[in-house]
């Protein structure tokens, strides 16, 4: 079973603010899900497996060229932003 501190650490990594009740609930739920997914530890796996065998696909390349005019989509995209100013997204200061 994972502890409350584990959940809090995962929440930080996941950028999720959780209340104490949510932490307690997730601790139980995540532990129960982990108990279920741990069943795969029982499967014998060949030592060498090709990671991509199941998808049977290859990398697709395209020319690295511009696909639209600069600024073509700026207004439409910025209209979706919670806060913007002079054509930029506005966010909290990250440098002191």
């Amino acid at each position: 079973m994972i502890g409350p501190d584990d959940v809090k650490k995962l929440a930080t990594l996941s950028r999720l603010a959780l209340t104490e009740e949510e932490v307690a609930k997730l601790q139980v739920e995540i532990s129960s899900i982990l108990a279920y997914i741990d069943t795969i530890q029982k499967v014998e796996l060949p030592s060498q497996t090709s990671g991509s065998v199941y998808l049977d696909i290859e990398n697709v390349m395209r020319e690295d060229v511009p696909t639209h005019e600069a600024g073509e989509h700026t207004d439409a995209l910025l209209a979706q932003a919670p806060r913007s100013e002079k054509g930029y997204l506005k966010v909290k200061k990250i440098l002191g």
């Binding site: 997730l26 899900i33 741990d38 795969i40 049977d56 909290k92």
Partner: protein, 472 residues
């Protein structure tokens, strides 16, 4: 006389040709029925105000070019709320994207629009396609038209409820693991999960990118086949689309049945399944016992791979560029509050789980192991498909369950036990409605599933037609 909302694609095509009714008549009949019945089903989150206008355009095209080459001209389609239409809200049934307006069309939308399909509205779903009941929608659960105290399945439950309730002729959904087949099973519909890469995902809000695929719901095999043929194809905007989708035919009429795996279904579902197989053998199919030893572990592997991809894909939803934003004292707090307030409980659970399995130290035990297991599943399938053309199982362990019945996350996850192998290995699979079972004196549908090798959708349609007795 049949109502316009009862008709499938083939009847609409014939009716338009005979000028018995117009596309506007058909669209209006659907809109009217939605107004009357959507309150109980909550299948649609929004009915598009321009639905009838698109039908007018379709009528003009029907008059000028006809529909002999184009069966979808004037056909009403419902779209799952994670598929983008430029200028319309696409929220993935999440609060975090409540006001998100799409800035471009999904490739499937472009294709269907060119063919003159009429988009009726966007349908309810589990938030970000995470769930098997639509109870994880931020906008309330959708209901099953067979019994509104039961769920329609999920995550594409709104699309399934819309087609089963005759609030749309056909609908698009998406699958990461069972999200089309499971609601098809619970709502008595045909539902296809195509070969990975057959249909472009450009404009589909991503969940698990190595698994996601767009597919369709219909009340007949022909309807699903028509939508698949109209939407498939290579797309430069989706690097995972197959450059050379070349249709392949099943090599024989052998159906493999992994009986040890089928035991995970409820007893009467197993009986109904066995009866369906018997009917198929009377129609010239040969039923063969096969081993599929890795199959029961597929779902556990899925619950490693998917959350890992979810935590990565959903990292972009940070409250800064678009979507819900919460104020905080610094940037980190704004991220954490925006995401905590914007995402629902199941989404948060899967993000946390994804962070866990990707944490350094656990990566080998989980993600690497799950990836290797996908390889083992593919090897097992390859071995089976050396002998048989199809693998059959029940689509779901049981029929539609009551709202609130599966509040424990793992019990909900087990709904997709039979779905996982196809998603993890990229093969196509179809759910076909035939059997019913009784629960609380209500007769409820439950589907039979067929899986087949990549590129053999045509053979899946052909066996599905044999199951339901539908002509070619």
């Amino acid at each position: 006389m049949a109502e316009l909302t009862d008709l499938g694609v083939r009847d609409l095509v014939a009716g338009y040709q005979a000028k018995k009714f117009s596309a506007v008549d058909v669209a209006e009949a659907h809109v009217k029925k939605i107004e009357k019945e959507n309150g109980a089903l909550n299948a649609y989150l929004e009915v598009f105000s321009d639905a009838v206008d698109s039908a007018k355009i379709a009528d003009a095209r029907l008059a000028s070019e006809g529909n002999t080459q184009n069966p979808l001209l004037g056909v009403p389609v419902a779209l799952k709320d994670n598929i983008l239409i430029k200028g319309k809200i696409a929220s993935a049934a999440s609060k975090i994207l409540a006001n998100h307006t799409a800035t471009y069309d999904a490739t499937v939308v472009k294709k269907l629009r060119e063919k003159g399909a009429v988009f009726l509205g966007r349908t309810n779903m589990d938030e970000f396609a995470m769930g098997s009941s639509t109870e994880h929608s931020a906008y309330g659960p959708a209901r099953n038209p067979y019994d509104i105290s039961r769920v329609p399945g999920g995550s594409s439950g709104g699309s399934a409820a819309a087609v089963a309730g005759k609030l749309a002729t056909v609908a698009l959904g998406s699958e990461t693991c069972g999200s089309i087949r499971q609601p098809s099973s619970l709502c008595g519909l045909v539902g296809l999960k195509p070969t990975y890469g057959a249909v472009s995902r450009s404009g589909l809000i991503a969940m698990g990118s190595s698994l996601d695929q767009i597919g369709s719901f219909g009340r007949s095999v022909y309807d699903v086949e028509t939508v698949f043929n109209a939407t498939k194809g290579h797309d430069p905007l989706d690097g995972t689309t197959l450059p050379d989708y070349a249709e392949k035919q099943a090599k024989n009429k052998k159906i493999g049945v992994p009986w040890a795996f089928v035991k995970d279904a409820q007893p009467d579902v197993q009986e109904a399944f066995a009866k369906e197989l018997k009917e198929l053998s009377a129609k010239g199919y040969e039923i063969v016992d096969i081993e599929f030893p890795s199959a029961p572990f597929g779902l556990a592997a899925y619950y490693i791979v998917m959350p890992a991809e979810v935590s990565t894909n959903l990292a972009r939803l940070d409250g800064m560029r678009y979507g819900y934003h919460a104020e905080g004292k610094d940037l980190f707090e704004e991220y954490a509050k925006s995401r905590a307030e914007g995402f629902g409980a199941e989404t948060r659970r899967r993000i946390i789980l994804g962070s866990y399995v990707l944490t350094s130290g656990y990566y080998d035990a989980y993600y690497r192991k799950a990836t290797a297991l996908r390889g083992v599943l593919a090897e097992d399938l390859k071995k089976a498909f050396d002998t048989v053309s199809y693998i059959a199982t029940p689509t779901t362990p049981g029929p539609a369950f009551k709202l609130g019945e599966k509040s424990d996350p793992v019990s909900m996850y087990l709904e997709d036990i039979f779905a996982a192998p196809a998603n993890l290995t990229g093969i196509p699979a179809i759910s076909v409605p035939k059997a019913t079972v009784m629960r609380d004196d209500v007769s409820l549908p439950v589907g039979i599933q067929f899986m087949s090798p990549k590129y053999t959708e045509a053979s899946l349609f052909s066996i599905a037609k044999d199951v339901v007795g539908e002509g070619a």
